[in-house]
Symmetry: C2
Subunit: 349 residues, 2 copies
DNA sequence: GCTCGCCTCTGAAAGGTTTCAAGGTTGTGG
DNA sequence: CCACAACCTTGAAACCTTTCAGAGGCGAGC
């Protein structure tokens, strides 16, 4: 076979070829790979030499087929472009590496169809387990996976259906903190910017805000809802456009955004249309991503323990797939308000 | 077998079980899956019913073992936390989906060991191909992969070793644009912030800057190098600390950063230490990520066609793995300077 | 009534690895 | 010189899917 054939045909040398080249049996080659201590040093050296000279690469499919499951764990992210989720992913990877597993990241990009496709794919791949920040947690696919043997841990959403572990941050409390802060500053007309409402976080954070209004003796309906099509900077700019277009007398004096991307877009658009932040419009974001602090006007935001979220989720998953007495858990962390310039101007009259 | 057994043992029903349940042969089940038009409607219905009731899930490992290669393509990113790379990833995914493939993302996080681990893993998985923004393009692993049958396309780096395709943006030109812009504004003491020097982009952008100096009749050594340990916001802040600590007479009046994360960190730290941007320090970033425009002082930056980069890379990879007459190509795009407030203050004397 | 062709279905083989019971070798103690 | 243990190595079986040559059934045409 020529070098050209190799290139075209792809991987070629298997255990069998190595065994033949080294003059030993298949089993011995396998032992060199998996339990080298059982093999005499001489034989091992011969086999290793043969592997090197043939360019042997283990075929993970075959290995997995035999073993029944893989050494890979997947994190299906809601939006890979949002630094919040990449920070969560870092935590996941840290925990996985500590346990000797690798992580594949998948991006559903807030698209239910892609989410479904990836879930199917991962199940077919027989990954060790799936971490997911779901678009729609009612999805039937989400339920069927654990029932068929692929553990699933829900990240950044609380869920209590007895099928999954979940790791979340109390989004209702987070929303409450944000709106309470704005009320304390004297704001009366407050907007909530977020969407779509199929995303649980969007709803919870809004409901938390409503709670704060109620506790302050105001009507829930006081919260002016501006619904966006996604949680992105671009949608934030669109919301800014809408807000800035209102006559000053009716325009909200403060906006609470469902995440920092929206807040940054909103901030940018409003500033460029001549509104002053926080004097004309105070803004609160959510997630406290690294860029929130570096924004045009440093952003007040609700901070979540991002890496811890990921690490904890991965640890629960590992427990689920290795501990026969595993019990599903629902872990909830507590968010924290970080106040910066975007709300810290002069109090309103 | 009880439901509990299923949960513990994992996926269980295979083609064989489905065949038995439907009263047909293995081959027929396979035909239902792969060439349904060959199967009579009646039989097909029976088989589909059996699959549904047994919760059959295709075993991708076995499938792949038989087929020899998978329907998956991987993008090994330099830093998943950098929005530049997630935008590239979006382009990759777009092209892959159009061709019916899925994408797994891996994050080397600027760590050579992790990069190597992932490359091994992906080769063992027999992925269709690997897209990579490498830390060290001399790495032997990078060379051995294509030789053994896994196509590799290098993204955001030009490379010309006859082993890979590559898709890049002209970083030398980008550096030149940035420094030329600063020179035009009258800056004399200009810093270059970037590192480590093992990363090709860091070196090219610096060298481009030196070119600009030379063309302006100045010495290359005029470029004050501030070397960082990574291309992150945190390192940018550190560089800001160092810069701001210099006596004003020796402090550079402008800084060109190897990417926007550094620039944003630098900007933030300098502002918080009381320097005015651009009056005391003009800043140019690189990549023009979405957050550059929304920064405390909107950032002048060198823009690259991010999604296009990813899409093109994926297309080259697909061609390489499907077209027997494939020729390796080196595609280079041209960057573009986007001027914003961070350099647009009053000209210096 | 026979042949031919078409349509549908069958079942064995292959693909690369791991496991494991069993076989072989070497060396020690009696 | 034998028995037995300790240590290595062997090779068949199993994992699950896909493929493909061919078997079987049926209707049409002669």
């Amino acid at each position: 076979m020529t070098a050209d054939d190799t290139r075209r045909r792809g991987h070629t040398a298997g255990v069998k070829a190595v065994a033949a080249a080294a003059g030993v049996s298949l089993g011995t080659v396998s032992n060199v790979l998996n339990r080298p201590e059982l093999v005499s040093p001489l034989t091992r050296a011969k086999v290793e030499a043969a592997m090197a000279s043939l360019g042997f690469v283990r075929n993970e499919s075959a290995r997995q087929l035999r073993a029944g499951s893989s050494r890979i764990l997947a994190y299906l992210m809601l939006d890979a472009g949002n630094p919040f989720f990449t920070d969560v992913a870092k935590g996941v990877e840290e925990a996985a590496r500590a346990a000797g597993l690798s992580v594949f990241l998948c991006n559903s990009n807030e698209d239910a169809e892609r989410e479904a496709d990836y879930l199917d794919l991962l199940e077919q791949q027989r990954v060790q387990g799936v971490l997911i920040t779901p678009i729609d947690q009612q999805s039937s696919r989400l339920r069927s996976l654990p029932a068929r043997g692929t553990p699933v841990v829900v990240v950044d959403r609380a869920i209590d259906d007895g099928e999954h572990c979940s790791v979340a941050v109390n989004d209702i409390l987070g929303g409450e903190l944000a709106i309470a802060h704005l009320l304390e500053l004297g704001h009366e007309r407050i907007a909530y910017v977020g969407g779509p409402l199929t995303i649980g976080q969007v709803v919870d954070r809004r409901d938390g805000g409503r709670n704060a209004l109620r506790k302050a003796g105001r009507s829930e309906d006081a919260l002016i809802e501006i619904t966006t099509g996604a949680l992105t900077v671009a949608e934030g700019r669109g919301a800014g456009q809408r807000l800035a277009g209102l006559p000053a007398a009716r325009r909200p004096t403060a906006a609470f955004c469902a995440n920092d991307l929206l807040a940054l877009g909103l901030l940018q658009q409003c500033v460029s249309l001549g509104l002053r932040v926080p004097e004309d419009l105070a803004i609160v974001g959510y997630d406290d991503i690294e860029f929130a602090e570096a924004a045009a006007v440093p952003l007040t935001s609700v901070r979540q323990p991002r890496q811890l979220l990921g690490r904890t989720a991965a640890e629960l998953l590992l427990d689920e797939s290795s501990n026969p007495d595993h019990e599903h858990q629902r872990v909830t962390f507590t968010p924290e308000l970080v106040v910066r310039t975007s709300t810290r101007g002069a109090l309103l009259p």
